[in-house]
């Protein structure tokens, strides 16, 4: 089965007014989703990227230019990614569509991974 990556895009936001209950509820939703993916044998891996937005590198006529993220045009960062296995794009979309990230206002970019070898 091919692997698919779920890139979780989000707008950096202020969580200082979230209540303890709300934060726990967010975690519980992700845990439940992940457990379902695992139970279906589709979970491959997941990693969180650091919050600061990273660095943006481009070559310009003046040489290498390194800027701090998040990038002005989007003000969006990739919070992290999940890799899942799925039969097809339809199957992967079905799994990704249940990811709580969407419910909490984030955007998911779904990409099929080119198999190595």
């Amino acid at each position: 089965m091919p692997n698919f990556m779920l890139l979780l895009h989000e707008q950096p936001m202020d969580h200082s007014q979230f209540s303890a209950e709300e934060m726990q509820a967010v975690i519980a939703e992700y845990v439940a989703w992940r457990q379902k993916v695992e139970a279906d044998g589709k979970f491959v891996s997941a990693e969180k990227l650091k919050d600061e937005g990273g660095r943006h590198l481009v070559h310009t006529d003046d040489g290498l230019r390194v800027t701090d993220g998040p990038y002005a045009e989007a003000a969006e960062v990739i919070g992290g990614y999940f890799t899942i296995s799925a039969d097809s794009y339809d199957d992967a979309v079905a799994t990704a569509s249940e990811c709580p990230h969407l419910k909490f206002g984030g955007r998911i970019e779904l990409r099929e991974v080119e198999p190595t070898g």
């Binding site: 969580h15 007014q17 209540s19 303890a20 209950e21 726990q24 975690i27 845990v31 997941a46 969180k48």
Partner: protein, 419 residues
């Protein structure tokens, strides 16, 4: 999907309860005058968990993880916002957040110190409940405002005023001993009583949050009874009172979502285990020579808990308890309960004059239960037209959905009777 160990570690109110514990532990470590920075550090830790755990999974010991991160974030904030001299050696303080028994015992002590600090006499009484809920209970400002029907702005204002006392160093973190314990316990018990009452009283507000208030009051009174230092008979009396009332939770709502009054409740659905705990505490509460209001209220609740039905209830003793309560501290709400008890023992016509007298006092002008009771009395006395007016009045004052359902149902029954 049945085997979900990670979820199990998040059941109940882990975050809410643990944020209260962390506030207590970190206040002991860094000083309660830094309460704002400590609260921010705790919020940072919970945000970090919310952002991280979806990807990494929940750590094996989530509480220890949160405590460690909260401590580090608090230190970061202290470094940024205070002078290094003031901090002294506090950075070297190790918090062993592993959950061994000794640590848990220390955490209980820390929480007790925090409760006494939040209910310190220098803090205005109307701020004490809000402060205890916020810092010891881990409730958010919107949650407190929902449960007390106060605006978020006024809750925030109460908290700011109260916290300034903690910041100014007027309040030390200690568990009082000897005579001082007795004095300092009174406001603590009062706060827990108000907390429970607010959750229990059928006024209005968010049902779920309100029930949490009751269980938080039970949890905190349990902290007091679990430590020898704060365990005196009146604490048991209050615990008994809470358990007897909480035992009736499952029976309070009927099939149509309407509030069920005592006489209509299915007594078999009362929680026997809680009633048992109530009696354990009631027994322990009898060990001293002081009879507090909590003793009397617990006794009344115990008499209801052991009665098969309204007819076999010991109303004579209940009225006696109400009489003693009223002779100490007159309360119009207690008076209403006393009048209802009289109607049960001697009939509605005997009780009605007292109800009219209570109405003349004007003290319960905005209390829907007064008019609901009056409507019920008038129905019993076959005065349907006046009963209907009282029902209307009650309905106009009741903001709670289940209470409104009950009133609507009673009114419909009245109309049927008229036909």
């Amino acid at each position: 999907m049945n085997d979900v160990p990670e979820l199990n570690s998040l059941i109940g109110h882990l975050f809410r309860h643990h944020s209260g514990k962390m506030a207590a532990v970190l206040s002991r470590t860094f000083g309660v005058r830094h309460i704002d920075l400590i609260e921010d550090g705790i919020q940072d830790a919970m945000i970090a968990a919310m952002k991280r755990w979806p990807f990494t999974g929940v750590p094996e010991n989530p509480s220890a993880w949160l405590t460690q991160v909260a401590k580090n974030r608090t230190i970061d904030r202290l470094r940024r916002e205070t002078t290094s001299q003031e901090l002294g050696d506090t950075f070297d303080v190790a918090i062993d957040a592993s959950q061994d028994a000794q640590f848990e015992g220390e955490v209980v002590d820390d929480q007790l110190r925090m409760i006494f600090a939040c209910c310190h006499p220098s803090i205005p009484p109307d701020s004490q409940v809000a402060l205890t809920l916020k810092i010891v209970g881990g409730f958010s400002v919107p949650e407190i405002s929902r449960s007390f029907l106060a605006s978020q702005e006024s809750v925030a204002k109460l908290l700011t005023r109260a916290k300034s006392k903690l910041r100014d160093g007027d309040v030390s973190l200690e568990i009082p001993v000897g005579d001082e314990l007795t004095t300092r316990l009174s406001p603590v018990l009062k706060v827990l009583y108000l907390m429970f009452n607010e959750g229990y009283a059928p006024t209005a507000g968010d049902e779920v949050v309100r029930r949490d208030l009751c269980f938080e009051a039970i949890r905190l009174v349990g902290l007091l009874t679990s430590q020898k230092s704060a365990h005196v008979p009146k604490v048991d009396a209050l615990a008994a009172l809470f358990y007897f009332h909480a035992a009736r939770f499952p029976a309070r709502v009927g099939g149509d979502g309407e509030m069920l009054v005592l006489g209509d409740q299915d007594r078999s659905s009362w929680d026997r285990e809680m009633i048992g705990r109530g009696f354990q505490h009631l027994l322990a509460s009898a060990s001293g020579d002081e009879v507090t209001d909590y003793h009397l209220e617990a006794e009344i609740a115990s008499l209801h808990a052991t009665s098969q039905d309204l007819a076999s209830t010991d109303w004579r003793r209940i009225i006696e308890c109400y009489d003693i309560l009223q002779s100490r501290n007159y309360s119009p709400v207690v008076e209403l309960n006393r009048i209802v008890a009289i109607s049960r023992m001697s009939g509605t016509s005997q009780a009605f004059p007292a109800l009219e007298k209570l109405e003349e006092s004007g003290l319960l002008r905005g209390y829907f239960l007064f008019y609901a009771t009056k409507a019920r009395f008038l129905t019993d006395l076959a005065r349907p037209r006046e009963a209907a007016i009282s029902f209307e009045k009650a309905l106009s004052l009741a903001h709670n959905e289940s209470a409104r359902n009950l009133l609507t149902k009673n009114m419909a029954e009245l109309t049927e009777r008229k036909i």
